[in-house]
């Protein structure tokens, strides 16, 4: 990871892990997805991002991952200045974060172990490290005994836990979860968010996009509410 920090702005605990300053994003089609957003998320926080469809949640996430570039403003994530960062540095930024998708995105031809190991191979980990870290990550999400199962043999909740293990396996500073409970039943949703809360307690910042208001109320974390590309609420303690 030493390589990662060479172009970062010396991250420290006091510095925000995500910062948006006057950020706007307009797509070439003319859609104003994000307008003049200012936000500061410090290391170790758990933040829910809520909003109706078309509110700008996906664009917000894409901007953090540097899949999209802001038209105006400055975005800093994990010490990387995303506004001035060259494209070749994007993989280094992404290695500092773990991503959980709504549709799990597990590779159906790989078993559970291989799906998680895949994220480590990408960053060039040795086979020994892969074996050790994948086992640890699977134990953390309670799937230590399912390493050889294929995704099709797992329930929706279990599949999402594999996705979570994959996001965790490279020990990221930040977890971005894009509606991770969208495809699982309510009980399993609580389990997933409980797991994320556990991970957050160990020091990892969690940013979770959700539509599920019950979850937001029950877990009592900071809530950022987006509407028509603007932040309309930013409250601590699950109120919005």
């Amino acid at each position: 990871m030493a390589e990662v920090f060479t172009e970062r702005e010396n991250p420290s605990s006091a510095a925000p892990i995500i910062e948006f300053r006057g950020v706007s994003k307009t797509y070439p089609t003319g859609t104003h997805a994000i307008e003049d957003i200012n936000i500061r998320i410090t290391a170790g926080e758990f933040v829910f991002v809520v909003g109706s469809s078309g509110a700008g949640k996906s664009t917000f996430m894409k901007l953090i991952m540097r899949e999209e570039k802001a038209n105006t403003g400055i975005i800093t994530v994990n010490g990387f200045n995303l506004t001035s960062m060259p494209r070749r540095q994007v993989p280094m930024l992404r290695r500092t974060m773990g991503i959980v998708f709504q549709d799990f995105r597990l590779i159906p031809t790989m078993n559970v172990f291989q799906n998680v190991a895949f994220a480590m191979h990408v960053v060039g980990a040795s086979d020994r490290d892969v074996r050790r870290e994948v086992s640890k990550a699977l134990s953390k999400v309670g799937l230590g005994n399912k390493a050889r199962s294929m995704p099709a043999q797992l329930s929706g909740g279990e599949q999402q836990r594999v996705g979570l293990a994959r996001a965790l396996v490279n020990s990221p500073d930040l977890i971005i979860a894009d509606e991770p409970t969208g495809n699982v039943d309510p009980n399993m949703s609580y389990e997933i968010v409980s797991l994320l809360t556990e991970i957050n307690k160990r020091g990892t910042t969690v940013l979770m996009v959700t539509h599920d208001h019950n979850l937001v109320r029950d877990f009592q974390h900071r809530v950022i509410m987006l509407e028509r590309g603007r932040i309309v609420a930013d409250n601590a303690g699950g109120s919005f």
């Binding site: 992404r94 290695r95 995105r105 590779i107 191979h121 040795s126 086979d127 994959r166 490279n170």
Partner: protein, 351 residues
Amino acid sequence: MKISSIKYLTGEGVKNAWVNRLMTLASIGVLVACMVIIGLAILISENVNKAVGKLEQQNVVMAYMKDYNWALYGEKDTSSDAASADTDTAQEGEASPEETADANGIKPGDYVIHNDEEAQALCDKIAKLSNVASVTYVTSEEGLESVKESMLEGQESYFTFLDEEYGNPMSGAAKITMKDMSKFDETVEQIKQMDGIDVIQSQNDLADKITAIKRGIGIAGFWIIAILMVISLVIVSNTIRVTMYNRKLEISIMKAVGATDSFVRIPFVVEGVLIGVISALLAEGLLYFCYRVATETIITTLNTTDIVHYGDVALLLLLIFIGIGVFAGVLGSVIMISKYLRREGSEFAAI
């Protein structure tokens, strides 16, 4: 890049080819066909070149020299009178020494070949021309024999009569073969300009035909290879594209967890190269088998052995095939994956 990554990515490339085996097989089939056609074009071209080379060797140029004896030809019986007349003139001192003709009427300014040494020296001079492959000195006696041999019975007796009555009608000559028939006229002109050369006999129409055949084969070969190279590239690119779309999910996850573009690209390049190399080996084997069968039939039917042996070109063909395979594999995959990563490789919207 770490060794563990290279090992992993190579394995992924091989796995890709296997998972996508139907498409891989189809690509190998088309690539083998392209390579075999390229190989056949090369073999045909080599065989035609060999045949043309033989023709070139046979297409000799005869450069007849200004032979001293030949200059006097037909005046044998009057040579003594002419000599006495010249002597008288010289004694009278009416002409300068440079213009004075000798006893046979040959002036010093007339460059003539007096003996075999001078003739050989002229041959050596001709041999120094860049396009001359070989020069052999043919004496007038050898020339006459050769002419007689090529004549029919009645015609031959005419030359025998001439020889007995007036002396050998042939002059010494240089028998010349050339390296490059396309420079034929230019070389003949250079020889003509040399002192001591009287007349040149050549078959420049044959030289033109040989040059035209060689040029035609060269052009046809170039276009066959160029077109088939493009076809090979398109085939491999398409296979890679299919694999790429099959692996869209994997690519999106790879990019989301921080894979570099080259990391994403390498398995596809490995797959492309693998297809290319397997095709090259199969094409080499298939071509060897086909060529052997074809040449055996030709040798038996036409009773000729003037055929290029496969062993002489086997390594060259294998290198060409592997070159085409690797070129098509690397370029096809790099083009496809780069295009994909640039335009469509969105992590969120990948599926």
